[in-house]
């Protein structure tokens, strides 16, 4: 899956915003043989300073960034809190095995994800996704 930045439109005149984000995570190799479980929490926030924030400047999930499996551009808002529980295990030399040169190979991914409404709207699960894909590299 190639990472291709979405085109950004020019912000409207009089617009001002601050962007903040953070990631906390931990990973554990359960057996010492590349059975790795990891948990991470990622928060992103777009804070309005002046004028309205155009949607292209808001936090966007899906695509090949956070919440993979969701179509990019469908989950857009001023803030996002994403928790990711990941389990990776090798199934072949080039499939999520850590190779002898310490570089990651390709991976087959099975993604299960749920998206909720914003916190101020009750965080009800409003969408659910199941997808299968591959990636190469980190």
């Amino acid at each position: 899956m190639m990472h291709r930045p979405a085109p950004r439109l020019s912000p409207p005149p009089g617009f001002g915003a601050g962007f903040m984000g953070g990631l906390v995570g931990a990973a554990l190799d359960l057996t010492g043989q590349q059975r790795i479980v990891s948990l991470s929490v990622n928060a992103e926030l777009t804070d309005r300073l002046q004028g309205d924030i155009p949607f292209v400047e808001q936090v966007t999930l899906g695509g090949d960034v956070l919440m993979r499996g969701f179509l990019r551009g469908r989950l857009v808002d001023r803030s996002a809190l994403v928790a990711t529980l990941e389990y990776a295990w090798p199934i072949w030399v080039y499939l999520d095995g850590v190779r002898s040169n310490q570089k990651r190979g390709s991976g087959i991914e099975v993604l299960v994800a749920a998206g909720t409404d914003p916190i101020d709207e009750g965080t009800h699960i409003s969408s659910f996704r199941f997808s299968i894909g591959t990636h190469h590299g980190l």
Binding site: W89, I91, V93
Partner: protein, 582 residues
Amino acid sequence: MGFNPSPRFALSAALLLALAPFAAGCGAPQPKFALRVVVDRDKDLEDHKFACRDGKPAAKVDDPCAPESYESSFAWDAADNTVFRPVAKFFAVDPGGEAKNVNAFDETPDSSWFTARISAKGMTPDEVANGPCLGGPELDPEDADGSWVIDHGKDNGANPGFRVKHKGTKYMMKADDAQVERASAATAIAARFYFAAGWFAPCDSIVYFRKSVLKLTPGLEIKANVGPSKKLDQKALDDILEKTSKRGDLFRMAASRWLPGKPLGPFRYESVRDDDPNDVIPHQDRRDLRGARVMAAWLNHFDSREQNSMDTWMQSEKDPESGHVQHWYIDLGDSFGSEWSEDGFSRRHGHSYLLDFEAIGADFITFGIPKRPWDEAQRTDGAENFGYYSARDFAPEDWKGEYPNPTFSRATEHDDAWATRIIARFTEAHVAAAVWAGKLTSDFQTQWLTRILMERRRLILHRYFAKLSPLTDPKVNDHELCVTDLARSTATYDASAFAYTADVRPIDGAAVSVPVEARGEGAVCLQLPASDIAASVPPSDRSRYRIVRIYNHASRGPLVVHAYDLGAPDGVRVVGLERPFH
């Protein structure tokens, strides 16, 4: 009212009456084995005339007409056996069945593929150490400067090298790689195991030599597996020598004596060679090829694909227009832990195919929870150059080569047990003698490799002697029948596991138990009841037929001995052996 049969009824009744005597005959049990000499030599060792093709003139001694050469595609063979063949065979009704070239003693007759050596006549450790080199010329490191003429590059293969010619004999010189001494040792040691067992293998020997003994012929090239050819000039030669193992000022390489006969390319692991009238048994149905899977497993000769085999046309000395095809195992240098640049493959060698859809699928759906042998593969301290070769996690029946082999895939329990009976003949002294031929610098590595081979041998014996009887080598003295229990003679199981019982029955009579005596070195003897058959009864009469079942109770199945009681003075003659599962 009278019975008035129809013409059809009358005809049917007449037919039944006519066939009644034959039906009665069919009901009586018949001897499974006839009274005749057991076939111990295949006719494919006999020379045959080979007509020249395309108007070529009659055969010359130095350029004989011979079957067509076969060139095996490196990439296609892998792709075909990994992907296309499994898909094509998926829906095919193609049951394996038992091997075709098996004689009445459950053995393979000597042939151009396999000639029983250690299992037939026994071998001394010295004979194993000399192996295929016995009696032929070998390179002498004390030869004069410039007397080893390099006349050809070493095409293909994982390890670089070149060919030298010395006193009319050619030798393929194979260098070591980063795994110091392993590849050269492997080719020399493995060739001795294959040869002693019965397959045909080249005389591969370790030589330590001075650089000055070599003389490079200008203008040589080396063909690679993939990519363009490279020049074999002085710089390329220096690179080969720089990378190979050394002892002081001497360079170490494996010298493989050129095979006799005219090379015809590799043999195939399926079908037959169309232009060889001796080749009548489909290769995938040959026991000697199927059983080679166990031999490859023992040594971890994972690169046991068709490219590492060779056919040669052995021209008759008497008639240059005649000859036969001989089949060889060559290039055994991957044995004993060859490593690839990708560590994941090195760990998997012997445990999975390079691209093993079954293993990938299993690991995927089980979330990697089951531990795999390659997860815990480790190198041995002091023997790191032998990679991941070890007895740890070695499961003979699960052993796999680089990619599926159409013959190995059809091996049955009987084929594997056949190979195991041969491997059982290798004592520790034999194994040590073969390892000695590797001329390893480290005494520790010599002893370690011997120990690992013995442990892997024990695991093979433990597995394949569990189901089918390991009793073999029937010998009869008058009415005393003795066999050898290979499981007991090799201490495969605890001594308390062995308890012998036997029964004897005529072809249509009841079985009678007979006492069995366990003797030293695995000997098992019993006395067959003497019969009172009149001398006038023909030798092959069914009344003389005896069926003896011998259990050792450490293995599940019995040895079933079929014999004719010929009376005095000929005694009992064994005509067949069977090893059923129960």
